[in-house]
């Protein structure tokens, strides 16, 4: 039976040598499918490597800026020179900084100095000047040296469009030296 079918398909005298078109097509399809899968997996791995590296740099950059803010906070308070914990708001609030070693990277800083509207993610309403209450609006120029605990959000944006990514660091910060 099997032989009969075979003969119908490949009649004697017209029998084809080598691989049939169907077999070649199937093999090619298989190759292409598997190859594409492998290619895209590799591509994804390479992209992820780059993304991971960028994220690592972003973390380092935002950590560096947080360290700079801490350094400013630890200096003796001199508002006229933008130093000391009380100068943090004036010096960093709503300012943007270039992220070191991160091409196109920028870090935007926001300080939350109104005790009543500190975002929940930063602990919500709280006493920032340690006067015993949590209803002061310290978000103005004259409040400079009243700030003792500074809730901050440092947002680093990096990558090239449309692959723009961001990382947000939320921190409380105070003076640690005396």
């Amino acid at each position: 039976m099997r032989e009969r079918i075979s003969r119908r398909l490949f009649p004697r005298g017209r029998r084809q040598d080598g691989l049939a078109l169907l077999e070649v097509t199937m093999a090619l399809a298989l190759f292409v499918a598997v190859g594409m899968g492998a290619y895209f997996t590799l591509l994804r791995a390479v992209q992820q490597e780059g993304t991971s590296h960028e994220e690592h740099l972003a973390m380092a950059a935002v950590r560096d800026l947080a360290a700079e803010v801490q350094e400013t906070a630890n200096r003796p308070t001199d508002l006229s020179r933008g130093e000391g914990i009380g100068a943090i708001f004036t010096r960093f609030h709503r300012r943007s900084f270039a992220a070191a070693n991160l091409p196109g990277g920028t870090i935007a800083v926001e300080c939350f100095a109104n005790e009543t509207t500190v975002p929940a993610l930063l602990g919500g309403r709280q006493d920032l000047n340690f006067d015993g209450d949590s209803d002061d609006d310290l978000a103005n120029q004259s409040s400079g040296s009243d700030l003792r605990l500074v809730p901050m959000e440092l947002r680093v944006d990096y990558g090239t469009p449309p692959e723009r990514r961001s990382l947000i660091l939320r921190r409380l910060l105070t003076k640690t030296v005396d």
Binding site: A87, D137, S143
Partner: protein, 488 residues
């Protein structure tokens, strides 16, 4: 299984023409090739699939690693934020044993995308505190609901990424180095201090305006201040009564000290306006002279009112004293009102607290030695309402004589030397608003009110503060500094 047909040797011409045996041989070889190729294709495909699977695993592993890295990063930042809060509570809030939450034990508190936790242990004898702080971020859909500290045996950290940090905080005493220290914003505005307005640039002192008028001012046009940096040696000790006129002495001590530039500006403005002159030292008796007078250089230690950022918060100083001596034997505790008498002497100094007003009536004398604290009744360790029921108020109508340190701090404190009154402090004087007035948004209210209408001598003496000096052992360890840090 298919077997190849073996070629047979047949000498029939017809068969030789067709050469079927060759054809048969050829078909068999092709099948082998096809089989080999198919096996090769399958093998390569399997290899590619295996490679892809490995690559996918790698990608997934890296992805997990990235997520974990982010979680560790966040947990670390939360832990450091917890630490900042704890240190700030110790340094500025007057809290002796900071802990997360408002209960008697620390609790986990929401923060960022996770939770924070911290507690403090204090070694009072060694003057050190240790703060342990953690941040935790959920790492699994199901996780423990442990409320314990991560260093407790009952802690169950399953499902969390936890990072902790520990700091050692050293307490240290501050030795006053100037006769008179005014913290925060300086002197209250009605007496001639600094007034903020919309055009002031915090970073540019030249834009800061002073109050040129004297609305509701109690201050006379002269400021009868006598300060030892000009006329008394640093080791002068006081036995009471009128201090003798000192001989000329090259005093390395500043007249005033302020905690920041705004306070400096306020003190300066207060002198200028109260004395009704452009010279910020014109109210002083005797007036300073070069080289101890460099008003043009705000950063100079020789400026009449130099900034001393190392001075601790005066309110914290008063709180620390209250914590240490509030209930101690030998401490004098006076209520609000008129007082007179002697509270300690050079041989037996003491700590004296007056909660509320200390008024020395005309014809009366209040004298003593050691540390005198005029305070309000707010205690940050037990209260949170920011509402002291009594303010610190120091009013001298009679005679006040003190050797050691005098502190007036609290909610809108005031110092008044009425006409006919006389005040002499040998040692040092600290004055500061506790910033307890609540709701203030400007530094000009975070000050102390001075109404000096008669003789007010503040004669610095390092003798009382130095190790072995009469006040040295009373000085509170109010300075807090992080001296060690490690990951947990």
């Amino acid at each position: 299984m298919t077997h190849c047909k073996q070629p047979s040797i047949v000498l029939e011409p017809s068969l030789l023409r067709r050469d079927d045996s060759f054809a048969t041989r050829s078909t068999c070889g092709t099948s082998r090739k096809r089989g080999a190729v198919m096996i090769l294709v399958v093998l390569v495909s399997v290899m590619l699939l295996a490679f892809s699977a490995i690559a996918v695993q790698g990608v997934l592993a890296r992805s997990v690693s990235e997520v974990t890295q982010r979680q560790v990063f966040r947990a670390s930042q939360i832990a450091e934020s917890a630490l900042a809060r704890a240190v700030a509570e110790m340094k500025y809030g007057g809290v002796v044993v900071p802990r997360s939450g408002s209960g008697v034990s620390a609790t986990w508190q929401d923060f960022d995308s996770g939770e924070l936790y911290y507690y403090t242990t204090v070694d009072a004898a060694a003057g050190t505190s240790v703060v342990r702080a953690w941040g935790r971020v959920a790492a699994a859909a199901t996780r423990s609901n442990s409320t314990a500290a991560p260093d407790a045996v009952t802690w169950d950290g399953s499902g969390w990424v936890v990072r902790g940090v520990e700091v050692a905080v050293r307490d240290f005493a501050y030795f006053p180095e100037s006769p008179l220290f005014v913290g925060n914003g300086g002197i209250e505005r009605p007496e001639g201090g600094f007034d903020w307005n919309g055009t002031d640039d915090l970073a540019n002192p030249s834009t800061w305006g002073t109050v040129t008028g004297s609305p509701s001012s109690y201050q006379s046009s002269a400021v009868p201040m006598v300060l030892s940096s000009l006329d008394h040696p640093a080791d002068y000790l006081y036995g009471g009564s009128e201090p003798p006129v000192a001989t000329a002495f090259p005093h390395p001590f500043s007249l005033w000290t302020s905690q920041n530039g705004i306070g400096q500006h306020n003190v300066d403005a207060w002198f200028r306006n109260s004395a009704g002159a452009s010279d910020e030292t014109s109210g002083l008796s005797p007036p300073p002279s070069t080289p101890y007078y460099l008003p043009g250089d705000l950063a100079s230690p020789d400026h009449p009112y130099p900034v001393d950022p190392q001075v601790p918060d005066v309110q914290s100083y008063a709180w620390a004293l209250w914590n240490s001596y509030g209930t101690a034997t030998g401490t004098n505790r006076l209520g609000s009102g008129s007082h007179s008498g002697t509270f300690g002497d050079l041989a037996n100094p003491s700590v004296t607290f007056v909660t509320g007003r200390l008024r020395v009536d005309s014809g009366e004398t209040f004298r003593g030695a050691g540390i005198l604290v005029v305070r309000d009744d707010y205690d940050p360790n037990t209260q949170t309402n920011n509402l002291p029921s009594t303010k610190a108020d120091f009013e001298i109508r009679g005679t006040f004589e003190w050797t050691g340190l005098v502190i007036v701090s609290g909610w809108a404190p005031a110092v008044t030397v009425d006409s006919g009154g006389s005040a002499t402090v040998v040692g040092g004087f600290f004055g500061e608003d506790s910033v307890q007035s609540g709701g203030e948004v400007s530094l000009d209210s975070a000050t102390i009110i001075f109404r000096i209408n008669d003789e007010f001598r503040v004669l610095y003496s390092g003798e009382v503060f130095r190790p072995g000096g009469m006040v040295h052992d009373f000085l509170p360890r109010v300075g807090k500094e992080v001296v060690g840090i490690r990951q947990l």
